[in-house]
Amino acid sequence: MNMNIIPALPEILMAAMIVLILLVDAFVGEDKKSINTGITLIALISVYIVQVLVYNPHTQLAFNNMFILDSLAQGMKLVTYIVSFIVVLYIKQYITDKKLQKGEFYAIFLFVILGIMVMISADNMLILYVGLELLSLALYALVALNRDNIKSTEAAMKFFILGALGSGLLLFGISFIYGATGGQLQLEEVIKYTYQSDVPNNALLVFGLVFVVAGLVFKLGLVPFHMWIPDVYEGSSLATTTIIGTVTKIAGVVFVIRFLINGLVLLSPQWSLMLALLGVLSLFIGNIVAIAQTNIKRMLGYSTIAHMGFVAFGLMTVSVDGISSTLFYTIIYVLTSLAGFGALTMLSRGSYECESIDDLKGLSKTHPIYAGIILLVMFSLAGIPPLAGFYAKFKILEALIAVGYIKLATYTVIMSFIGAFYYLRIVKVMYFDENTIDLRLADVNIVSRSVLMLNALTLLVLGIVPSGVMAFCLKLISG
């Protein structure tokens, strides 16, 4: 029995910080609630430091091998902390303005991060599932927290019911794999079993795989399991949309990598075909339906569906290049949408919510800096060189062509062209339309504003010199 808990110290510290924030929130007065923001930021910094301290180049196991700290887990956790830290900087003024309860909001946000940490370093299907539930439950609560808004309540209900359905599919699939492998939940044991046996002829295993893939892509939001994404993006407050649109994507992609690469890699002929089909549908629906949207949050929801199609293509190559490109794509996508949502939250002053495309009319005249940030974000999402989004798409295409999916790569390029339309429309609205709405900035402090500008500049810098991050992603995979 291996009860070594050192590698899991960051998780333990995070759980302690959650309890601390709940206790502090219960005792401080209404006027001192901003202390919760401070504790959240301190929690993220301290967890980052502990995470760096526990690192050692060998893979570490803990809790009877259910917990794994390999280079993938280490790297992606560090990225999660940094992104979450930036998210808090962006949304803290928004939360104060919109009177979302601060203590609870931050506590539940830290629960989200704990769920992500558990998922990222799970080495057992049971833990993957428990981590996913921790993450999903926290997200349902965050959406429902904006309870006086009927749209949020509806979105939370839809999210909850569809999410429960997705978890059900996943569990059903896991139970078949458990049966087929003679009672194995540990990922490396599943691999060992599939090595020894005649996989393609084992109907039980493939049958379970279908449901597992359905459950996994439900969480990523690939077509036809995408119904919840636009409603949840539109219905939640911008703060919650920022969280769902950024940090949880990291968890989703690593989750799929753990399940399909670490556990069921020998079934890749089966699942890569499924991912290819789902990716083709996602790119189509995501890009076409996004054109018809008038709400930016909803439009970004459909754009997420299209981007997750790219992720599916990257994973289906089952090559080191493909997987590391997928990680690179995810990191770039998260950074890009982080800047986009950050700009939108800062443009929502008081009880006003900047969410309609018409709100951005003539933004270049009133707030040229914010218009510039959104311009960079939209260009990066559309994949226009020299921005980071272009290089990310390029790497995925390269990986696709390297394993011979030329038709799929062509299709991807065509769909990206169609997608460019709605990103560029935002740019057109900002720069060429007359200003109709007096949009005022929220009282964001200088730190958050400069972080937002740095974030937008990163998109440009990473587009020109992507090699550092790319090497980082490659190291995460090859170990």
Partner: protein, 211 residues
Amino acid sequence: MLTTVLFYVFAIILVFSALKVVTSKNPISSVLFLVLAFVTSACLWLMLNVEFLALVLIVVYVGAVMVLFLFVVMMLDIDVETMRKGFWKHLPLAILLGIIVLVEMVLVILNKPMVITGSPEVVSNNISNANQLGWVLYTQYSYPVELASMILLLGLVAAVAITLRKTDKNAKYQDIRKQVSVKASDRFEMINMPAEVEVDNLEPQNKEEVK
């Protein structure tokens, strides 16, 4: 032989009651059928020699959760008609899709043989079920148990955050400081009143009240 017969009896009852949960007209009978479904699955578990889990299922789900459900269903005034609107309209499509999925599953399973290699360790009869369960829960599965506790904490926090309203007019709070520092003169006032009141003045102001 007997176990096989029992298994099929329980399985048929289970599937039937699960169907009735979804299809019965009255929400109360839905809940009662759900109770039946839980009890039947507890019986199935008993046949697998997992007494403790079977009993927990009955005690926790039937005894606590389902009673709470019944209570909520009776408390809320649910308009069954609006809830069931469109049920018959969508039923043919739903049945069609269900049959397609079923046929697909059956075809997959019949087409290739199912291979099950080995089975999980058979439960020993020497140690009690609860003992064994506790042993693995707090050693081998301590990590998921800890995580489950975090999920429970989250559920608690989320439920309070979503429902508690401090500005609610109906909310009643005790302010201990006010309670302690209260004086008799705050609560009790002497008023001069005439000892006798004339009967004419006691005429009812509203006829409804008299009735």
